[in-house]
Structures are given as structure tokens and as C-alpha cells.
Symmetry: C2
Subunit: 396 residues, 2 copies
């Protein structure tokens, strides 16, 4: 008696994954260097030497029983203290270890945070364009994800649509800044306005509304961007972080939940995450990976290539006539397609070995995402190909 719900989920194979597999396959035919694969958000720079050295040092010098022993389900205490101290120092929010729960990346963090502050039937609002995995993260808790339409002129928040969708059943609002897929960071005025509205609505509805902030791209911010730390602006906030992008460790599945110390029940949310984790059998991230990231807590990989690539693509796309908002961070750019159906547009681009992701799944039809976490040399070679594609297919 196979579970039909999960069986049916097998049909919903990610378009990103499909395109990435196509790119790999096509690479086998014509050489992967000739496929301009903008599909996957896999970091293209190595982790720091400091991280590698920390792993080696831990394994060479420390007692194996200590480094591989059971981690408490909330994470190793010293690691939680290190995370709390770093966040407090950098962002001025007075976290303590008890507010930190170590997770399997931001994915685990978001899924746990949503479970903590919603009950089945509650609504969670997020803003288009949005990371499509939010749908399973939220819906498997029994809460319901509702998507506020995009503000396509700047990819800040569409506050008019947000106001219409707010209602008493909203238990949480989920934001992602800098944003996948738009590359845009919410500005200080945007977050201030969001916080004002949420404070007012909490009062009006007589219950908490939590702001869950998904921040895997927090450290990838470009020159001139206004990308403030969300939790500074709103007490009932939960930050969800991952070292996947900042340290280029997506396979290691390491991140955390940081509960704002001023949030309602701030002292028990991390403990609740531990109970949730226990029920799904996950428990906690690798103990040695926890210890290693704690040793390089304030390091990042050399992330400058992403800004270089962004500038190259932004200039080229603008020159070619694309409507595109300049990213403030991440390694994504999010132009409008040259025809209404972005699927058709991306499908035609495939004939030029340009692998672009149509944005229907991101809640923003008519747009496409380019993940430019690839070599700058390849970005440069892709530009004449894009020009040829646009010229030949769209006479642009």
C-alpha cells in the first residue's frame, strides 16, 4: 500500500532539474564547454581554504569520539554560541545560543520554522517571484502557501496586492532577500513598510504573524545595493540561513534557524524545532560539518565572480533590449522574455544551447531566470550566442 500522495509527487519533476539534466546530456554530445548552462544554482567558486583546513585539522587532531559523537538535536552548544555571537556582532540583534537551531541548510530551516509558527489550515504568504520549493516546504506542514503577485517594475514588494491578500488566517509571511530568482534585495524602505503593516495587522487580528526570512544569499550582495538584515526590523522574525552559497557547501547541508530574541516564545522555538526534527527522523546536521563551519563563521568564499558575471550579463541584456531589473545580489538575473510565453522562449533558446529557466514555477510567467554561477569566460562566450539567438528568432 504505497502512499499515493507521495507517489503522485513523483510527477512534479522540477523544470530546473530537467533542464540541468538536458544540459548535461547535450554536453556529452557537443562538449559541455559548448553548452551555456544557466539552469542550476550550484556555486561556481570553491569553499575557503580555511574551511578545508578546519575539516582536516579536526579529523587529524581531535578525538574521533568527540567529533563524531551524537550532536544534541538542537546542534552542538559551542557551535550555536558561535553563530549567536557572530550574528549579534554583525547585525546588532542580541541572539544567544538558545535562539539558534542548527539545520540541514536553509531548506531545513524554512521547513522547520513554518511548522513552528503555523497550524494546519493557516495561510503563509510569500511574494512572487519565489523559490518553487516553498510549495512542498509549506504544504507538507498542512499550512497553505499563498503567493502575492510580483511587482515587476522593481521586484520589491507589491504592497497593494499584499494588502488585499492579508486576512486573519495568515500566520506567517515568508520572504527571500536577496531573492531567488529575481536577484533583487529588499530595500530598507521595503522592509520597514512590511514591518509596519505586520505590526498593525497583529494588533488588528489579535495574534502573532511571524516573518520568516530565507537568507541563503545574505552574503552575496553587490556594490551599491541596500540589503538590510530583515530581523532588525520586526520582533516576530525568524532568520533561516545556509552556508551553501556563502561558503560554497551546498552538499554539506548546513545552516541554521535564528529566532529573534524579542519574538513571542523566543526561548522555545528552537526547542520546538528539535522536536519537529526528531519526528521526521532528521535530528541534526553532521557534527563534524557543524564544528568546521563554526571555525570559519565569518569567512566567505571569494564571491566577486558573481558580481562580475552579473555586470556582464546585465549590460548585454540591456543592450539587446531585454527588460531587466539590475540585481542587488545572489547569482541570478531575471529578464522578461521576448515573447509572452517564456516556456516557448526558453525552448527556442535551447536550440542555441542556451539553457534558460522559464519562470512560471517561480510565480512570474513571462520571465526567465539565468543562474550565472558559471565561469566568467563562459558568460563572455555566451553573449554573442544570445545576440545571435535574439537576432535570428526575434529580429531584435
Amino acid at each position: 500500500m504505497i502512499n499515493e500522495t507521495y507517489k503522485n509527487m513523483l510527477k512534479g519533476k522540477s523544470i530546473i532539474r530537467q533542464l540541468s539534466e538536458y544540459a548535461t546530456e547535450r554536453g556529452r554530445e557537443i562538449g559541455y564547454e559548448n553548452v551555456f548552462d544557466y539552469s542550476l544554482g550550484n556555486p561556481s567558486v570553491p569553499c575557503t581554504q580555511g574551511y578545508t583546513d578546519a575539516v582536516i585539522r579536526i579529523h587529524q587532531q581531535e578525538n574521533p569520539m568527540a567529533i563524531h559523537g551524537y550532536s544534541p538535536s538542537l546542534g552542538i552548544e559551542k557551535v550555536r554560541e558561535t553563530v549567536a555571537a557572530s550574528l549579534s556582532r554583525r547585525f546588532g540583534v542580541p541572539y544567544e545560543a538558545k535562539h539558534i537551531f542548527m539545520t540541514s541548510g536553509a531548506a531545513g530551516a524554512v521547513a522547520h520554522a513554518v511548522r513552528c509558527v503555523t497550524k494546519p489550515g493557516d495561510q503563509v504568504l510569500t511574494f512572487a517571484p519565489f523559490f518553487p520549493e516553498y510549495t512542498p516546504y509549506v504544504n507538507q506542514t498542512g499550512a497553505v502557501l499563498k503567493v502575492v503577485p510580483a511587482s515587476t517594475k522593481d521586484f520589491q514588494i507589491n504592497f497593494e496586492a499584499f494588502a488585499e491578500m492579508l486576512n486573519e488566517n495568515v500566520a506567517a509571511v515568508l520572504v527571500n532577500t536577496p531573492n531567488n530568482p529575481s536577484g533583487i534585495a529588499y530595500s530598507t524602505p521595503t522592509i520597514e513598510r512590511l514591518a509596519r503593516i505586520l505590526y498593525a495587522k497583529q494588533k488588528e487580528y489579535g495574534h502573532d504573524i511571524f516573518l520568516i526570512s530565507d537568507e541563503p544569499y545574505r552574503e552575496i550582495v553587490f556594490a551599491g545595493a541596500d540589503a538590510p538584515y530583515v530581523s532588525k526590523f520586526y520582533d516576530n522574525s525568524i532568520s533561516c540561513y545556509s552556508f551553501s552559497k556563502s561558503l560554497s557547501l551546498p552538499g554539506e547541508r548546513i545552516g541554521y534557524v535564528a529566532v529573534n530574541p524579542r519574538a513571542t516564545d523566543a526561548d522555545i522555538i528552537a526547542v520546538m524545532c528539535g522536536q519537529i526534527s526528531r519526528g521526521i527522523g532528521h535530528n541534526c546536521p553532521s557534527s563534524s560539518v557543524q564544528l568546521a563551519v563554526a571555525q570559519v563563521i565569518d569567512q566567505t568564499s571569494d564571491l566577486s565572480v558573481y558580481e562580475t558575471n552579473m555586470n556582464l550579463l546585465y549590460d548585454a541584456l540591456t543592450r539587446m533590449g531585454f527588460q531587466v531589473v539590475k540585481p542587488g545580489g545572489t547569482f541570478y538575473i531575471f529578464p522578461k522574455a521576448l515573447e509572452e510565453d517564456a516556456n516557448a522562449f526558453c525552448s527556442k533558446a535551447k536550440d542555441y544551447d542556451l539553457i534558460l529557466v522559464p519562470a512560471d514555477n517561480f510565480g512570474c510567467p513571462g520571465y526567465f531566470r539565468m543562474a550565472y554561477c558559471i565561469d566568467t569566460e563562459k558568460v563572455k562566450r555566451s553573449i554573442p550566442v544570445m545576440e545571435k539567438f535574439v537576432r535570428e528568432v526575434y529580429n531584435a
Copy 2:
């Protein structure tokens, strides 16, 4: 609006964890060497040098982008192939990579397997004594865990009670052999009889009944024990494994689900696990840990200390007049308490700094568990203390 269900779970703090914390605290007062802490199942031997060398070699020599890149959600393909080949070679069940799903230890494996083969409302039967974490693993899926009373004379299966509890709503049976907490391995006749019954009931009810076999202690088997590989006996079986005990890596959270290739829907169960994992945001275990265990797939730590400790304790307990079945594996022994209330018994033992776990939570009141994954020297020192306790309190 904190989720009340998860908040209420905070009250159910594990007795094992409480006793372990008490032991640590008491150790600060009188020196931990003077606390005979039999509470926690934390391995007491280091991982193999081969594992440590593999981690160091991978980090020194391999491309960081390859070893820390996203793992597919089912696990790294080469790792899954290595696991399948090892199991096929050792146990004669023809696994392929597609039957393997890499997990966060056996906990993750069991939680995912239960979700795959049950739907909310279904019953999952397990046999006392049983690992108390099965309750959250099963109940958080929406299925309902039912516990078949123990066969206390030998801690094999109580088939009479099992027959009475079988009904059309049973979707899965969950076994754990060698068993935590009894230390007993199910014998070949026990598993053969279980399989015969399940085949007959599948036919009678007209639906699959899956046998989920939780096997973290598979490699800790003592001389003379008959501890066969469960999946060989029953097609609809799913093995749930962990490297926590065999390689002493509990903090690394690494294990797998192995679906019997002859099971119904054998080719999609691992993929379904991937979808479930995605929804809870967990995705997969650490990529570098996956790569490292694959390099030492057939190694185990030096596990002989557990058998040494078991023999010492078994002889001493028997001599003292305890009713106790000789363990066939694990690092647990499970004697009957000297009074009806094992909580009272264990509480009195605490006064002698003997930390024993009462078995009410294991579904077997009146018994207690000793986790003898501690130094042999300490086991030896604990015996006269136990004798003193038994003599002074029970005149035995």
C-alpha cells in the same frame, strides 16, 4: 501563533536524556569516573582510521566543488552503487543503486520508509521492547503505532499477541534486530515464521504489508548468535541502516534505506523517499560524509569491547540473581528489575551512582536497560557497586 502540537511535545522529554544529563551533572560533583553511567547508547570505540583517512584524503586531494556540490536528493549515485553492491555481495539480495536512498542515519530511514508505505490512519505494528523514538517517527506521519507485548522469556516475538493484533488496517510491521533495548537478535525461525504470517495476511487482506527492518546494530553480533538478514526472508521488506554504531559515527547522521528489489513498487520507493525528504527540507546527508563512508563500506570499528562488556555484565547479573536473557548483539542488556516498579528500582540505584534506564518507555515495564558502551574497566568497577546496591536494598 506557536504550533500547540509541537509545543506540547516539549513536555515529553526523553527519560534517557534526563538520566544522561543527571549523570553528567553528578560527574561534575564526584568525578565522572565515579558515575556508572549506563544511560546513553553512544558508541565507546572510535571510528576506523580508514574513515578518518578517507575524510582527510577527500578534502586534501579532491576538487572542493565536486565534494561539496549538491548531492542528488536520493544520494550520490556512486555511493548508492557502492552500498547496493556491498549488500548484494554480503546478503545475496540483488540490490541496485535505484533501491538505495541515503538518509540521516537509521532514524531518517525509518521515518521515510514509514511515510512511503502507510497513509494517515493506517496501523504500524512493532514489538516490545521497542525504541521509544518509533512513536514520533510513526505518529508524525499520521499512521498509528501499535505495540505488540513482549515475549519476556526470550525477547523473540510474541506471536500469539501478534496474531490477535493483526487486522486489515495494518500497513507495516516494524522490527529492530538486534534489538534496542533487549540486545536480542531475532533468530532464523522467528523471522521465517514472521514472514509466513505476513505472506498469508497479505493474501487474506488483499494488500501489501511492508516489513520495515531497523538495523543500526546489524554489525554488532556476538559469538553463537543467529542473527540473519531480515530482507532475505520477505519480499516486501525495507532495510533501514545507520553507520552510527558500526563505524561509531552517530553525529555524522549517515545511513540508508535499502528497498528489497522484489518488493511491490521497488523501483519507486527510493524516489518517493526523495520527495518526502524534499518536503521536510532535509534533502540528503552531507556529501563529503557520503563519499567517505562509501570508501570504507565494509569496515567496522573494533566492536569487540561490546561483547567483552556484555559477558562481564551477563555473568555478574546472573550471579546476583537477576532474570536476564543473554544478548546476541548490540551494546544493551535488559534485566528484570528486583521490584515490580522499575522506576523505583532505577531511582534507588541512582543513590549508588548506578545510572540505569527503566523500560516503561520501551513498552516493557518492570525491566531496565543498561547501555554498556563504556570502558571495560568501568564495567568491572561497577560490578561490586551493583552487588552492594542489590545486597543493601534488596537483601539479594
